[in-house]
Symmetry: none
DNA sequence: GCAGCGAAGGTCAGGAAAGGTCAAAGGGCG
DNA sequence: CGCCCTTTGACCTTTCCTGACCTTCGCTGC
């Protein structure tokens, strides 16, 4: 027995799977209409089940001719290791912590050696001039972002 | 799905791309006529889609023999767009500045639409909870890093 | 020369058509 | 009961499109 949110999620994922290019354009009102619910319910589903964390990107436009576009980043459920690393990064991350995560990701085959090197370089360049508390915060932010983009392309 | 404004925009860009020298002269009335709309709709399109921020300059003249001229600013070449954007990002970058850079990168064919969406999302997610001065710094850092990784993969 | 007319284009405010936000109410489950 | 996830509705912001009214320019007749 699923909730309404589950049904909408499943419906969207089915539509998405039928789309080549993994991109779906849809109108919020139509969707709400089909499921006989208030439009904001759609936003709830998007916010809880279609985040970058889950491997999706959502864009939208308001006004006349407005729409909601859902883009799937990875065809099959993205690797567990990604979610794990994403969570592990947290809000603040030391240099050693970063090395540890990158090593695990490479071990798991989620990242190639060159990607690891690239990421390490970039993070270093962006943080080496920062003081302690801020550096760790920026590092976490960077790692989360870089992982999302690298694994999503 | 496009709105009328989208259609007019596309039409103008197509005409523009056919012009050598990237300059297009056209009459407002003719355009309005072709798209069956009021003339001021044309001004709306020009004001929302052909600003200098979008890489265009618009001049016009009123009165008899009046016209509207759209000039496409010479785009940054694809080979240099990356370092151009990297420099432009600088150490601090506003939300608008980010949009501008992403639009230029997409125009130049350096980034696909989905990459732009992804990057925009990630940057948003990582900065929306930050205060003004810090948000701009982190944004610049993130954009530089993401560009490096995306173009380096 | 210049006043006046007609033919451009410009501005602005308002209404309509989307989608977004947020907080409160509802509902299961330990 | 208390907590977390879901659902709803009231209210907000953005975008598009139109129409009324304004400004600028060339031309023509005096």
């Amino acid at each position: 027995m699923g909730t309404l949110a589950d049904d909408i999620e499943a419906y969207l994922k089915r539509l998405l799977s039928e789309m080549e290019q993994g991109t779906l354009d849809i109108r919020r009102t139509d969707l709400a209409d089909r499921f006989q619910c208030v439009p904001s319910q759609i936003n709830y589903v998007l916010k809880t089940r279609f985040t970058t964390r889950h491997g999706y990107v959502v864009e939208s436009r308001r006004g006349g001719g407005g729409y909601i576009r859902i883009v799937r980043l990875t065809p099959v459920g993205r690797s567990q290791i990604y979610s794990w690393a994403y969570d592990k990064a947290g809000r603040t991350l030391s240099k050693q912590g970063t090395e540890y995560l990158l090593a695990r990701l490479e071990d798991a085959g989620a990242l190639q050696n060159r990607d690891v090197a690239l990421i390490r370089n970039v993070i270093d360049q962006e943080t080496h001039h920062l003081e302690q508390p801020l550096a760790d915060i920026v590092r976490a932010s960077l790692l989360r972002s870089l992982l999302t983009v690298v694994m999503g392309s």
